[in-house]
Symmetry: C2
Subunit: 198 residues, 2 copies
């Protein structure tokens, strides 16, 4: 940030009176330009038939991580709820019809100023198709998942927690719980990690 | 937003190519200025002795809702996790030492582009004191809570869910669960609902 978005004068970075951290402040109109974390919201769409379980992944057609696999997810927009964002992103990126379940993971990625949320989802049919931001959309069983070609650490963590929960459910019943974790070392890319992930 | 924060030229509001909603776009450098929801994070500090349970509330010294009661909470900052934000806000607004528990509520307030998160917390001692944004900090039993003088609907909802959980726990055991709700009609104020709540 170099200029004030309200009056176009240059901004300066300093700790405003009564505050305790540096902010971009306009030298002309005194507007304080707060910068806050963004939410990335998506779903974990599951298809289960005849005892076989598969999850839906999208191959990214955009940077960062072009060509790598992700769960459908993207930046939450104004005027929508987290659940609406998860359904919208699943529709936009995978063309998939889902019944949204409960919140499954909340993953802090403080290093890039993001919080990622993933909802459980049940795939309603097989009429999915890649949206403009995906090269391919495909169902994977646990052993088919391209673990070395996943786009983001939060995708890996969410999938790992999902299959770990499945083992516990098969052993002793119960349901998918809610998990919260901090991602200390997000994957590093050549491209800007702050850029729109979908 | 009137001017580009990168080059100071005027921005225009239109749907960029390949997008599906209006964005502020710079006519000069073509930067797209995305606007996304903000997270407000806080805690529900509980003090329990000799079978009596109380919760910690802060009387707001700032707008919006000056003079009304709130749980300690505020906008999440860059470079921190949601749990760190909850602990920081509790320290800043209530001077309170807490042991943070699990995420208790996720409340969407889409009308004002906010998502509010409240964590369960156990008050470690009674050495709390109002910070610069609070007039007063006080413990309240359920019947003492100033229900008509609460600052925000998300505070009311979180407290109601907490005491409803307590009833269930006394009847049949269990623990505080995670709750997610959409706040359709946030409280309306004379002051700007978008302004910093803490």
């Amino acid at each position: 940030m170099k200029f004030c978005s309200e009056c176009a004068h240059p901004v300066a970075l300093f700790i405003p009176e009564g505050d305790n951290r540096p902010r971009y402040v306009c030298a002309q109109c005194a507007t304080i330009h707060y910068q806050n974390p963004k939410m990335v919201v998506g779903s974990l769409p599951v298809w289960e038939r005849d005892g076989e379980l598969k999850v839906l992944l999208c191959k990214r057609a955009i940077e960062p991580r072009h060509g790598f696999w992700t769960l459908p997810a993207g930046f939450m927009e104004n005027n929508e709820t987290t659940a609406e964002a998860a359904i919208r992103e699943t529709e936009e990126e995978a063309g998939a019809n889902i019944a949204l379940g409960g919140l499954f993971t909340l993953l802090n990625v403080a290093a890039v100023h993001q919080v990622h949320l993933f909802y459980m989802a049940r795939l309603l049919d097989l009429d999915f198709a890649p949206g403009i931001e995906s090269l391919e959309v495909k169902l994977f069983s646990e052993r088919e998942i391209p673990w070395d070609d996943l786009a983001f650490q939060t995708i890996r963590t969410t999938l790992e927690l999902f299959f770990a929960d499945r083992v516990k459910m098969q052993e002793g019943g119960g349901a998918h719980g809610f998990h919260s974790q901090d991602i200390i070392r997000p994957m590093r890319f050549h491209s800007d990690p702050h850029s729109e992930p979908g």
